[in-house]
Symmetry: C2
Subunit: 173 residues, 2 copies
Amino acid sequence: MTVSKTAEKSAEKPAEAARGRKDAAEGPGEALQLGELSEQLGYVLKRAQLKVFENFLRCMASLQLTPAQFSVLLLVEKNPGRNQTEIASTLGILRPNFVAMLDNLESRDLCARIRSTNDRRSHILVLTDKGKAVLARAKKLVATKHEARLNELLGQSNREALLGMLSKIANEF
Amino acid sequence: MTVSKTAEKSAEKPAEAARGRKDAAEGPGEALQLGELSEQLGYVLKRAQLKVFENFLRCMASLQLTPAQFSVLLLVEKNPGRNQTEIASTLGILRPNFVAMLDNLESRDLCARIRSTNDRRSHILVLTDKGKAVLARAKKLVATKHEARLNELLGQSNREALLGMLSKIANEF
DNA sequence: GATATTTGATATGGTCCATAACAATTATCA
DNA sequence: TGATAATTGTTATGGACCATATCAAATATC
């Protein structure tokens, strides 16, 4: 069995795992030198992203929503009446991979596919009432538990600066 | 056939893909609203990370090094004589998954496993001469093509601030 | 009306991540 | 000392995510 979406274990905390065994027996001085690694933006970026997702999953454990699912619900709420192709591609999800994702959300009655009358090929996406309610609760959890923790760690203005720089990288790099 | 590590196509540029088809026929106004999504740190963080890795792979195309492989070479160079468990866990790689990675690097004669004389269970890791040479070239490519581009985009001081905040998240979140 | 395109879907394969289990070796301690 | 436990590298395996090819139905194009 594997840990499902809501992973709790995460099996390897980078720095801590390296220590912890030999140290007790051989003394303190066995920690590896990260060296230039800690200056590599890609490396640190990846590490930070994993931590943030991990925390997001913990905060959302009660609602069982992954970051990707949360983003779909947000986007459908903001843009009701769009079809699968539009929603998927805006999120960078390939259409084939979006099918199973929607199957999941639809089976949990969070969103619904509706055959379009204009174009009977496409499925219009909308949130169900339950979907809207769950999303509302999810937003609150994210705001009070997740983003709040980041503000606490970085400070409000730093957090905004960080967001700005990341957006710049995401859009202009 | 799939595109190997050095992906060039990347199949879905989030925002651009959504437009591009209907637009030409139906006019401009069909872009989806990202809404609160663009304020979600996790979302933007993930997007930025993908862009950075993508650029890294392009810069390293001539050396065929992935970010993960680069990090292994860097760490082994900085900490010669450590065994697989130590190197892997410092990088957050699980030992079983590290085996194939080392098989690859070793088959390309970039690093070598040496049976330890102290503990004949463990394999000491070192860079080969070729490994050192390749790593040196890799560092130059990263500095001149990859990190330079980031400096250009963000500015030196912003880039450092970004790195600091990401480190904080990676270590203290 | 013949041909091409788009949409949602299926099948499939690759990569990465995580767990269980094993043989060889070493550590522990009764 | 010798039985038991723990560690190292490894294999096997399965899940999650990503990417491509292909399909039938519907629509667009010419």
